[in-house]
Symmetry: D2
Subunit: 328 residues, 4 copies
């Protein structure tokens, strides 16, 4: 039993001021505006063919409207819906075009309440990979991953790995109690992650990861944000992760939504790739160079809307510690 | 019916002087020596876990001993052997350790006579991804692809796509006669190619493609080779391909074997990715910036050994033109 | 006796279509428009404080209106004029603001007829070094040098070195006859050149050299030009010069005027730096990696206007060969 | 009255274990060993022609033996000695070869007691600029500057600017009391600094600045040090300075001596360059992206040996605050 999930595909972020957010994502970071509605902006990246990967939606506060993964086989949509329902998990069907330019879709919550949308069809566009004259800002290539905080990582891990056929590239365990699963990097496409699960107050989305082509793009994003007076939007990094080997920076948009710019990870063509194990208290895990992440990076994340009610989902405290011991 | 081929995995190159070739690949380009026998050297790259991806074998002339792809499911080995045999194509079984540190394997020839080995098990090693102190030369990350010349691209295309389940990322057609398949970039792993097929005298291996992490690595390889007096080993580039978007340089080793250093391509997570079509005479195809490839790049390639006899396989003239019209 | 010449400062290029040239220099290469007149555009680079370094002037054909160097001491203007006149060389004084936003100036021709303007005062502006949000195109930092072709390099060399106090960083000699000065790289600021002299039909300006901060900027310029259909404007490179160690690309603007993007040279803080000697036929000299420059690079250069008449200066054949033997 | 000081040229660091320090500077950072004595190692960088720019000397503790600047005119040696003496400042003459491979020299202390050696002649060697096969580690190009802490910046500023003919590129003033000179970046060669003066306990050497060619070299240094278990040697950064625009990282060697790897500054060809003014409490000054330097960066620096006695010079408390208000 397997499902044709191919990748994380798009995220809808709640923003309180569309113009200000447009400035952040389009003018400074260089995402491309593909479509505009009264209360929504649809943005895409250079290497994408889907019409959009980021939706900015006018709302009362920051947070996440929904986040979506693509299926290559449309017949897997009802099969997935059945699977969630058979396990007593909530789902909601979306009609074609209920999300802009998109076919039928299902939104469903995993055992931690983490909501993900699945869809097959979305309007395609020409990519901009060789429109080098249109490269701006951080030269963002594509949406790479969704990183979440959930109270019980093991429960979501079992669901996504055991039921949905994800693979694990790297994972983190606690020291005390020993060897409890603290975080896991799961993927369907052949790199480190489409979805990561970290222990924390949740369900929340910790960050949206966008892939850039080189370290210069990460540095240029910092230079640009500082130049326009937004140095406070640089929350953590630039630096190199031990886990994933990625060179990264974490940014906070004007509503506090967190975006990672990310490069230098690796491909995993072999399904029998042996996952890499890290201890939560290994300082190289989070930053290979030893820099300690700020408290805000652990404390703050994005609330998620319920697929059923549209209300922000209530969060729960994690069952394990929510940060390494050296983070104070 | 499908087979668990995951990627191109290694190549055995014939070299006339092991020490001289070791200098080229290890000292200048930075591959890592993993094992040495009297007449063979086994080299690996930084991001690989297989014990080796390049074998240098002492021989009377340059060329290719064999080239190999990995299967993740060992049961697919006999299934593949049956498929080749059922289609009247030659195969030979290899016993475990007949190739160093490798399990049972099959070598087989496709309809153009192109020989490829399939194996499942090879000794694993720790990768060097985060051993940054051991990075040398071009900082080569992993074997990426095998690029071949064959007399009839369509026949091999039908075999690898139709029978072995490869996908096509980009392809090239002729203008006259119109729309005949001139070249195709085929992949199992989720980037542009594991195997490409180009029209030419063949079957021959045109080049081995190694992936590097950034454009600087390509430039540094040129600087190093020129510094040690080997500027003649730089055959073509550096430049950007239109097809694949890769930033590349083609090098000739001391026996004329051709290696590409390659970066800046893209991932293909969706199996329904619409392949990109190019005309053979579009100058941006070969070099986006308009540079014209030298004649040698079309004329010269590596002869291949027969899996059955070990003799160099006889080559045939191509049925279509073997180069764009603007290459003279 | 010495003069306070500090650097090459600006160039006025003749262009036949201001809008088309603006597209090339501003939109594609990223120079910044500082001022516009009916028949002139004034452009600057990111790290400059002078109001402009490039003037585009509407004219009947490509070529150079004038090229200018800065003096830090205004009293040296009349001293320089006297020197030229005392040596029977033509000069013309310019009134303040005869060149836009500039003080008094002198235009004078050296023994080969090469015309250079000297000025002290030009309007200053804020630089854009840390306006990272305004970086566009090739991220051009500053005008670096003027490279000329003259019939008798030795005569100009004696003038600029012996009379005007320039230093030589690197030079090239012929093999046959042996050791005749074929080219020289002369500087006042502490890097390789402000003015180079190469043997050729002249006096002509061979190219204007702009400095960029890294190799990526050179590659990005090529990508952008190719993306907008101007790949024919890439004349030579990218590559690395042996002489100067610079990573370069030579571009031709829509009127054939030649611009070099240039990075990776070195500083010369010591006035007793021993100049580096090259043979004209050393292939590493022109391109360290062995690539041979196209004929056009030797044959074609920009005609210069006479400071006295404004007419294009008649050119003469060089007294030595005008290219290496391996360029055919 | 002026002196032909051309640049900061070399530094002698005190180290407690030559082998361990050799590993840090040669094996990890990639400096080149040029000469070895029983208790001293002489190291050079790729773009240098002086035989060495760093001396490691076996001693009881970290710190600085001496630091030296070059004069292009040997006649300025006695003139400089006279100047110091006429102002009641201590000097000591060194005989030829008292420093290895060096001519006669003078060591002298400025009004803050800051000791600097002046010399004219040192043995020259071939540079390694185009020996790309010998590039290792951080690809360090040349010694760029010496950054000091002194109790009264104004006194040293007056000496180096007023008496020795240095220029100022950028400077920092206090807010309270207003406009007191807190730090100054002084140069003879045409970039930002040869010598900087910062308010602090002193005289001490705060760091030795080495120039690298690109941001990748800075990142690679971090990767290498972390890979060999020395992540604690990364004290601050990588990041971008507002002041100087440099991309930097500060490293601590095994004895706590501080080295900066530094790139992305700018040239100053005009002697009338208007220095850039910063307020001490402008957070962009120290790190353009807003990162706050650690306390250690302000508290700790290298003690200096007296030119007269060889003992470590007593330090004094600064007359102004020694750090921005936001550093806690």
């Amino acid at each position: 039993m397997s499902y044709s999930i191919t990748r994380s595909a798009h995220v809808e972020l709640r923003v309180t001021d569309l113009d200000r957010s447009r400035e952040f994502y389009v003018q400074h970071l260089g995402l491309i505006e593909m479509h505009r509605e009264r209360d929504r902006l649809y943005l895409g990246a250079l290497q994408e063919r889907d019409l959009y990967s980021l939706v900015l939606r006018k709302a009362e506060s920051g947070g996440v409207g929904h986040m979506a993964m693509r299926l290559s086989n449309p017949d897997d949509l009802p099969r997935l819906a059945d699977l969630y329902e058979a396990n007593g998990l909530p789902i909601r069907w979306l009609e074609p075009d209920e999300d802009y330019a998109q076919g039928r879709a299902v939104r469903a919550q995993d055992p931690n309440g983490l909501p993900v949308e699945f869809f097959h069809r979305i309007e395609q566009r020409e990519w901009k990979l060789q429109k080098f004259d249109e490269y701006r800002g951080a030269h963002i290539m594509n949406l790479d991953h969704l990183n979440s905080q959930v109270p019980e990582v093991q429960a979501s891990y079992d669901w996504w790995m055991g039921k949905l056929g994800f693979s694990c590239s790297e994972f983190t365990v606690t020291d005390d109690p020993p060897d409890r699963l603290w975080a896991a990097w799961l993927h369907r496409k052949q790199n480190i992650h489409d979805l990561s699960l970290m222990t924390g107050i949740g369900p929340r989305l910790h960050h949206v990861g966008y892939w850039v082509a080189d370290t210069s793009s990460v540095l240029r994003a910092c230079d640009i944000l500082a130049a326009v007076g937004l140095r406070d939007s640089i929350e953590r990094g630039p630096g190199r992760h031990g886990l994933s080997n990625a060179f990264f920076v974490y940014l906070r948009d004007p509503d506090g939504n967190r975006v990672e710019l990310y490069t230098g990870d690796y491909m995993i063509p072999d399904p029998d790739f042996k996952p890499i194990r890290w201890s939560i208290n290994d300082p190289r895990r989070q930053t290979f160079w030893g820099h300690i992440a700020p408290r805000s990076w652990f404390d703050e994340a994005m609330r998620l809307e319920s697929p059923l009610t549209g209300e922000l989902i209530e969060t729960r405290q994690p069952v394990l510690q929510d940060r390494p011991e050296f983070v104070i």
